[in-house]
């Protein structure tokens, strides 16, 4: 039987081709991994190894976290909470020049704290914020670019679906990953605020001020967001301070969302069914991807490809910063043809041993990888958030949306570079909290 790094490399190439043909990501990962395992280990061990992985994944306690956070998000959506964060932020900042764009970013961060998906955040906030900004005379490019970029916060601000998947694949604590994501998420949000401020400082006509909301309106908006905001604080605070595990936080979040739905009179048989169905559909998708990724990772481990690449790169003597800069360029290039999830699942088994071999933290790598994935959501040709926003406003061209997102993309690249040069941005909070 063959057990060579070259076979692993051939597997990566086959996987890449299958993914580009549009094969479902989980199936492409699984079939490549299984084929590779059969070649390296033989039929019987390969089947048994895969059978063990399937059962363990389906009954895995930690992976149960994902559907529960999704259920929480769907229930909050049904409760009508999606527009509340933007509503509150726009009443606070809307009267300032560019205030609605800042409110959109804040709204994305708020919605991202109940939703772990970039696409869902961009789509939902796009429906709420873009028409409002356009109606108030904001430039199309600024309005759409702000929400397309802001949507990526959904993936970084905990709870994050991508971080849960990374935690499972890389066998890292999901609670620590969530804690580590907070400072990068907040600094990313602040960098977007800065971009908006610089744009409107340079071209004030792009974002005219709107009438100032009264304090009654602001307090009314705060009341509307209070229950969901409190739920988010309990869920994220509970994880960060170690009061509850990520799985318990997900359960508490879903239970709280059920209560909020019920309190707002939005919970009935049909809405509950809709939330459960959406949750099952999305979590089924993730389960298949995780099963496939684990089989593929087992194959890559058997071939020794990761060690071979690690030795090669360490042999170049570049040092951690230059190596990770190189990895970032590689991820951005691959990310221009693969979607974020595929990128993460293809590269984690190969890059993680390299990263840990250089003495870098796997937690840091998880955040770095998700940050690189986020950039892929707004840069062409994949740039899924751009397409999502274009569906919301079909009369705005993709080119114009990309023009709007370009300053944010620049900020993203600077932010990614800062994460490489200063890993403490990621690791300081979990270290300080002893996670």
């Amino acid at each position: 039987m063959i057990g060579e790094p070259s076979l692993g490399l051939a597997g990566v190439v086959v996987l890449l081709v299958l993914l580009l043909t549009g094969m479902p990501i989980g199936i492409a990962l699984g079939i490549t991994g299984l084929g590779g395992l059969i070649l390296t280990l033989g039929l019987e061990p390969a089947l048994i190894k895969s059978g063990v992985l399937v059962f363990e994944t389906m009954s895995r306690y930690e992976l149960g976290t994902l559907p529960l956070f999704m259920l929480m998000a769907h229930l909050c959506f049904i409760a009508g909470a999606s527009g509340d964060f933007f509503g509150f932020a726009s009443r606070l900042f809307g009267h300032r020049r560019g205030g609605l764009a800042i409110a959109s970013v804040a709204g994305c961060a708020g919605f991202g704290s109940i939703n772990g998906s970039s696409l869902a955040t961009a789509a939902t906030m796009g429906l709420v914020a873009v028409p409002e900004m356009r109606a108030r005379g904001y430039s199309d490019a600024l309005a759409t670019g702000t929400v397309a970029a802001g949507g990526t916060l959904g993936q970084m601000i905990p709870p994050s679906g991508a971080l849960i998947v990374f935690g499972i694949i890389a066998e890292q604590s999901i609670g620590t990953l969530f804690t580590a994501a907070i400072v990068p998420g907040l600094t990313q949000m602040l960098s977007y605020f800065l971009v908006v401020a610089l744009i409107v400082g340079w071209r004030p006509e792009l974002a005219p001020p709107t009438p100032r909301a009264t304090w009654e309106e602001r307090i009314g908006a705060l009341r509307r967001v209070a229950d969901v905001g409190l739920l988010v604080l309990v869920v994220i605070g509970g994880i960060v301070f170690g009061w509850i595990t990520a799985s318990e936080a997900a359960a508490v979040g879903a239970a709280g969302a059920l209560l909020i739905c019920s309190k707002r009179g939005k919970l009935d048989r049909a809405s509950l069914r809709r939330a459960l169905e959406e949750t099952l559909r999305t979590s089924g998708l993730i389960y298949l991807v995780v099963i496939g990724a684990l089989i593929f990772a087992a194959f890559i481990a058997v071939t020794g490809l990761a060690d071979a690449i690690g030795n090669l790169i360490v042999g170049l003597g570049l040092g951690p910063v230059a190596t990770m800069a190189l990895v970032a360029v590689f991820l951005l290039l691959i990310g221009s043809v693969l979607d974020g999830l595929a990128l993460m699942l293809l590269t984690t088994p190969i890059l993680l041993p390299l990263v840990t071999g250089m003495g870098l933290s796997p937690i840091w790598f998880g955040i770095f990888l998700v940050r690189a994935m986020e950039i892929g959501f707004i840069h062409p040709p994949m740039g899924m958030n751009l397409y999502v926003i274009q569906r919301v406003v079909p009369d705005v061209s993709l080119g114009r949306i990309f023009k709007g997102v370009l300053p944010f993309l620049t900020a993203d690249l600077v932010h990614l570079a800062l994460l490489i040069v200063f890993p403490a941005i990621v690791l300081a909070l979990p270290n300080w909290l002893g996670r």
Binding site: P67, L280, S283, L285, Y287, V289
Partner: protein
């Protein structure tokens, strides 16, 4: 088919609600120093039902994530052919996973596996996993050989 799907949504969705209830009670119990013993074992058993239901619903709805870059640029006929090939690959994968899972279940059948604290038997769980993979195999095969795919 729709009734079956509806039942699946309620069974797997109900399993999710059980996970919500058990994990929340376990958390509250731990905070008030009245721990709910074996909560993780209950969740592991129930989450398997939810995961199986989710996998089937996602497959029924053709909702599995894919990279659409090339697929969107193909003609309808070519796209149809490629999708059939993908479904066939899915059927192959699920058949292999089914074989592996059934193999282990058969090997451990007389071992009377059970969880440590509550003694939850693993046999029904292994049967559920095998049935899930069987349904996924049939659905994928139907997608590959049936009259129409999406």
């Amino acid at each position: 088919m729709e009734r079956l799907r509806n039942a699946l949504v309620w069974i797997a969705g109900g399993a999710l609600l059980v996970v919500v209830a058990v994990d929340s009670l376990a958390m509250i119990g731990r905070q008030i120093r009245f721990p709910l013993l074996g909560s993780i074992e209950i969740i592991e058993a129930v989450v398997l039902i939810a995961a199986g239901g989710g996998l089937i619903v996602a497959t029924l709805d053709h909702a599995h994530a894919r990279v659409n870059l090339l697929l969107e640029r193909l003609s309808t006929t070519s796209r149809e052919r490629v999708l059939r090939l993908h479904a066939l690959a899915g059927a192959l994968l699920f058949a292999a996973l089914l074989a592996g899972t059934a193999w282990i279940a058969a090997d451990l059948w007389h071992g009377h596996e059970a969880s440590e604290l509550l003694g939850i038997p693993y046999r029904p769980l292994r049967i559920a996993a095998v049935l899930t993979l069987l349904v996924l195999f049939v659905l994928s095969l139907r997608g590959a050989l049936g009259r129409r795919t999406r």
